[in-house]
Every structure is written in structure tokens, then in C-alpha cells.
């Protein structure tokens, strides 16, 4: 149906019920001038009793620019008293099918303040991400059923956030990569030396036993490489957003296996304590693995030698828990307060990026979970990941 035909975009439609046009014109001017100067897109909607759909009664030029119905460099100051911006937007043939209008319609279904993120596609295909906050106008006779919606362009901010998240994920995989490089360089190094040795001995027929030993070494080494590569491939195959019902025990076990070479080469003792009764919880197992590997790594570095690290799983009232506890150097209150801050690190000299914990927090929160750290200086640190069983609907 064509909303434009029924839209109250003129002064008498918007304000007619408050008095005669002559009476309301000064207020209309004041209102119009004020709203036109708001940099965010503003849309006022109403849903009259008996109507099938809500109706837009007003929108400002900033909104018209946002959705591409007015050039963004058009004069910000309105000319006459009429709401020409609204006319342009609301008479657009695609308006009542656009996600923006759908989000406005949707917000009318409750009396609460609603926030949402809406994507808007421009005619040239470029996409805008708008943050919508819709508030009911209540308490005054004649305003019932009206809502004011403010649209803010958050495209640049979202793009930046996505880029940061991508970089953080890369940094995280980089940390893991160092551990995996160590794992893969041993068998490749071994196979290379064995192969070259076998070649060098081909000329001496009495060395056949030695050549055989070399070849067996190569086969075993290459099998090991294959196993490591298969583990790695899991990271490239799974999309970062994919969730599946997982047993946290499997994830904890896999993390310990990944972190063990690093931990043990630094003199740390790794213990795994699994609660067999944990329920399945929706998660991206690789992301949680990354978090755990990072936490174990932190614990190894907090130990400076003979640290004991316990990775423990348990069930909670609403979900599953996995903690990483160490008896290392611990943190003072100031360090603990900053532990999740991006770029905060006490190991800048040793190559710490200060990203590990903020990445971990981002991943756990992305799962609707909680990441908490407790620590006492000189006594050690415990970091707890709580994940809900039912994924939160947001």
C-alpha cells in the first residue's frame, strides 16, 4: 500500500489536532527549525487506532540525507515551513519496503524504548549501518501512539570495530602460530636431514640398513606434520561466527594439548581437571580454544619457572565454567583493574602486545558469557570463563 498518500507530512496533518493552522504555525516553525538542526536523522511516527500500519508524520533533512533522498551537501537550514525532506523520503516508492521502515513498524509493537541496528542500502550498492533508538512519546493527550526515532550513522565506527576484531583474531592466531611453528619445524627439520643423509649414502651399498633407518625417520616425521596440519586446517575451515553445541571438556583438553609444548619448555606443570557432568553449551570451539591457549600462555609467563597451572571445568546454574588457575606472581590491584584493557601489558619488553586479554574478553562476551579475573600478588591468578547453556537472544 502507498503510505505516501496517507502521510501527515503537512502542518495541518501533524499539528491540526492541536488547533487551527494559524494558532499552531508559530509552534510548527519552532519545532521544525529545532529538529532540522539535529545532526542525527529524526523520524516521528504514529499508529492511530484502527489503522493497519503506523504512519510517519515527520522526518528531518538529516534523515533524508542519510537514506540518500537528499544530497548530503544540501542546505541544512530549512527554507519554508513545509517539511520537504519528509515528502522526498516518504514518497519514495521503496520506502515502505525498506528495512528502516520495517524497524520503525517493529518498534511500535511495544511501549518500551527500543534500540536496534539497521542496514540501509544506497542506490549505488554501498551500505550504511544506522543505530536506531526509538522512544515512545507518552503522558500527553494527543501524543499517545507517537514515537520518535533517532537514527545515527555508525558505519565508520562499525567498520573500524570489525577491522580491529579481525586484527585481534590475527594477532591471536599469531600467538598460536609461534607454538605451532615449533611443533612443525621439528619433524620437517628431522625429515630434511634424514632425506639428505639417505641420498648421500646411496653410493655405498653396505649402508642399506642406515638408508632404511633414514627413510623410516622421514615417514614418521611426515606423518607427524600431517597431523599438525590437520589440526591447523580446522582454524581455516570454521567461520568465526559458527556456533555448535560442544562439550567444554573437549575444548579444554585440546587447548592443553596445544599449549603443552610451550608450557613444558618453560618449566610449567599443566594439570587438567574435568567435570564429567558438564552439559553441552553452544560455542565456537576454536575461539574458546584460542582464549584458553592465551590464558595458559599468560599463566606460564606469570610463573617464571616452576608454575603449576590447573585448567578446571565445572557446571554452573545456567551454563558451564572453565577456569585457568596458576600459582605464579599474581597481580596487584592496579594491574588487575587494567587486565582487560586493550594494549595494557606488563611484558612489553618481552614482546607482549597487550591484546590477549581484550581479545579473550571480546570472544567470551560474543558468546554471551562472562570473563572474570581474580588475583593476589605473590599468590597467583585465576581467570574464569562462564558460558551460558542457552545462547542469549539479542
Amino acid at each position: 500500500m502507498g503510505h505516501a498518500a496517507t502521510l501527515g507530512i503537512r502542518i495541518d496533518d501533524a499539528f491540526g489536532r492541536f488547533g487551527s493552522p494559524e494558532q499552531v504555525r508559530p509552534y510548527w516553525r519552532l519545532f521544525h527549525q529545532a529538529i532540522e538542526r539535529v545532526p542525527d536523522g529524526v523520524v516521528i511516527t504514529t499508529w492511530r487506532p484502527g489503522d493497519e500500519h503506523p504512519t510517519a508524520v515527520y522526518c528531518n533533512r538529516a534523515f533524508a540525507s542519510l537514506v540518500g533522498c537528499l544530497p548530503s551537501n544540501s542546505p541544512k537550514t530549512p527554507g519554508g515551513g513545509e517539511n520537504d525532506a519528509a515528502a522526498r523520503v516518504l514518497s519514495h516508492p521503496a520506502w515502505d519496503k525498506s528495512p528502516l521502515w520495517k524497524s520503525l513498524e517493529e518498534s511500535h509493537r511495544s511501549d518500551a524504548v527500543r534500540s536496534a541496528e539497521v542496514a540501509h542500502q544506497w542506490a549505488d550498492g554501498s551500505q550504511l549501518i544506522l543505530e536506531l533508538e526509538s522512544t515512545p512519546l507518552q503522558g500527553e493527550v494527543g501524543l499517545m501512539g507517537h514515537r520518535v526515532a533517532v537514527f545515527r550513522d555508525v558505519t565508520a565506527q562499525k567498520n573500524l570495530e570489525n577491522a580491529v576484531a579481525r586484527n585481534e583474531r590475527l594477532a591471536c592466531i599469531g600467538l598460536l602460530g609461534a607454538a605451532i611453528a615449533h611443533e612443525i619445524n621439528n619433524p620437517t627439520g628431522s625429515a630434511l636431514v634424514a632425506a639428505e643423509t639417505a641420498l648421500a649414502m646411496l653410493d655405498s651399498p653396505d649402508e642399506i640398513k642406515q638408508v632404511e633407518a633414514c627413510l623410516e625417520n622421514i615417514v614418521a616425521s611426515m606423518n607427524r606434520c600431517g597431523r599438525i596440519v590437520r589440526t591447523l586446517l580446522r582454524y581455516s575451515r570454521q567461520q568465526p561466527t559458527e556456533r555448535q553445541a560442544c562439550n567444554i571438556n573437549d575444548v579444554a583438553e585440546q587447548s592443553i594439548e596445544l599449549a603443552r609444548p610451550y608450557g613444558e619448555s618453560h618449566g610449567a606443570k599443566l594439570q587438567l581437571q574435568l567435570d564429567a557432568r558438564v552439559p553441552l553449551a553452544p560455542m565456537n570451539p576454536l575461539e574458546i580454544e584460542l582464549v584458553l591457549v592465551n590464558l595458559i600462555r599468560n599463566a606460564v609467563e606469570a610463573g617464571g619457572g616452576d608454575v603449576v597451572i590447573a585448567v578446571r571445568t565445572s557446571r554452573t546454574d545456567h551454563g558451564v565454567r572453565v577456569e585457568v588457575q596458576d600459582n605464579g606472581c599474581g597481580m596487584n590491584d592496579d594491574q588487575l583493574a587494567h587486565v582487560f584493557d586493550p594494549l595494557y601489558t606488563t611484558r612489553r619488553q618481552a614482546g607482549g602486545s597487550g591484546l590477549g586479554m581484550s581479545i579473550a574478553l571480546g570472544i567470551v562476551q560474543g558468546h554471551g558469557g562472562c570473563l572474570t579475573a581474580r588475583s593476589r600478588q605473590g599468590m597467583g591468578t585465576t581467570v574464569t570463563i562462564d558460558l551460558p547453556i542457552a545462547a542469549e537472544q539479542s
Partner: protein, 206 residues
């Protein structure tokens, strides 16, 4: 001089690396002894004085690390040339290994040719060091056989003093100096004062 077969000690926690390196070392006629940890090496390592040797040592191992073992050997004054190897090296680690006196720091995977070249170099260096030690020990033994007067004469001869200067420095006659000089040359197994000076210089070098 009879030399025993040079021995390469391999210390790596990865059994496959130990095996392939042992095969490589034996294929060129050297002796190989592999240990799966720094502790096992310390238990098993017995210094055979005349065989030149070197250690191929993994940096990262559970328990005592390669760097830890290297520091321990330096502290015990066991100066065996060490070639460090690592699967996952970082710069601070390499710097520490080199400043502790490692011959080289090779990242896995390395080629057989590179590793054998470095091993040969390490063994040559160790053999040289051993020869030098032997010479110094022999020379020290000869000096040990001198009387205290002969030792005074030796010092002045090496310092380039003539018989007359020596006689006045020690308050003895020139004839007595000549007698002591002959005794010194005899015990030091030198034909002339020039050879004696050269002998002492070589003994003090390195």
C-alpha cells in the same frame, strides 16, 4: 699424535630429531651420542680428553633448557663448542645463546650441508683448543722441572736480557749465567734462546 674419533653430542627432546641427526653424523664417519634431555646429557657425558667434540643442543626442552645447560657448562669451565638449534627461535634467545659463547644458532629446519659444515668447524676448533692445551701443559711441565734460579734466568732471557745484564740483575758471575742458560735450554728442549722465546710465546697465546 693419535686422535680418537671426534664425537658429536646431540641433545634434543624430540626423538626423531635425535635419530636423524645421529644418522647424519655417523654417515660422515663421526661418533654420535644422543640424549633426550639436558639432564640425561649431564648424567651420561664423560669427558674423554683426547677426542675432539661438539654439542648440538636444542634451546627449548622440558626441564633444564638448552640455554640452562649451556650456562652450566660455561660455569663448570667445560668449554665444548656448542651449536644451538631451535624450532621456534626468538631474537633475545639467540642473542643470549651467542653471548654465552655458542658457535652458531641454527633454526630448524636446517640442511644437512649447513649442519655438517658447522659441526666440522666446531670439531676443528675443539681439536685446536685441545692441541693448544696439550702444548701449554707440556710447556708447564718443562718449566716445572727448572730450579728456582733457572726460572729467574728463563724470565730474564725471555725478556730479552743479555748475559751481562742477567749477571748483574741476579748478582752472579757471567760464567754462572752461561751454565744456568745451558740448563734452561736443555730442560726446555730448545736449541737456542730464539727458539726458547718462540716456544714461550706460543705457550702464552690463546
Amino acid at each position: 699424535m693419535v686422535t680418537a674419533t671426534p664425537t658429536v653430542y646431540i641433545v634434543d627432546d624430540d626423538p626423531q630429531v635425535c635419530e636423524s641427526l645421529s644418522l647424519m653424523v655417523r654417515s660422515v664417519g663421526l661418533e654420535a651420542q644422543a640424549y633426550c634431555s639436558a639432564e640425561a646429557f649431564l648424567d651420561g657425558f664423560r669427558e674423554a680428553p683426547c677426542a675432539p667434540k661438539c654439542i648440538v643442543l636444542d634451546v627449548r626442552m622440558p626441564g633444564l633448557s638448552g640455554l640452562g645447560l649451556q650456562q652450566m657448562l660455561v660455569a663448570q669451565n667445560k668449554r665444548v663448542p656448542i651449536i644451538m638449534i631451535s624450532g621456534c627461535a626468538d631474537i633475545p634467545m639467540a642473542v643470549q645463546a651467542m653471548s654465552n659463547g655458542a658457535m652458531d644458532f641454527l633454526e630448524k629446519p636446517f640442511s644437512r650441508r649447513t649442519m655438517l659444515a658447522r659441526i666440522q668447524e666446531a670439531i676443528d676448533r675443539d681439536a685446536n683448543t685441545r692441541r693448544q692445551y696439550a702444548r701449554e701443559a707440556e710447556l708447564a711441565a718443562r718449566v716445572e722441572r727448572l730450579s728456582s734460579r733457572q726460572r729467574e734466568v728463563l724470565d730474564l732471557l725471555v725478556a730479552g736480557k743479555h748475559s751481562k745484564q742477567i749477571a748483574s740483575a741476579l748478582g752472579i758471575g757471567e760464567k754462572t749465567v752461561a751454565k744456568h742458560r745451558a740448563g734452561v735450554l736443555d730442560k726446555m728442549q730448545a736449541d737456542s734462546v730464539v727458539e726458547l722465546v718462540r716456544l714461550m710465546a706460543v705457550g702464552n697465546s690463546g
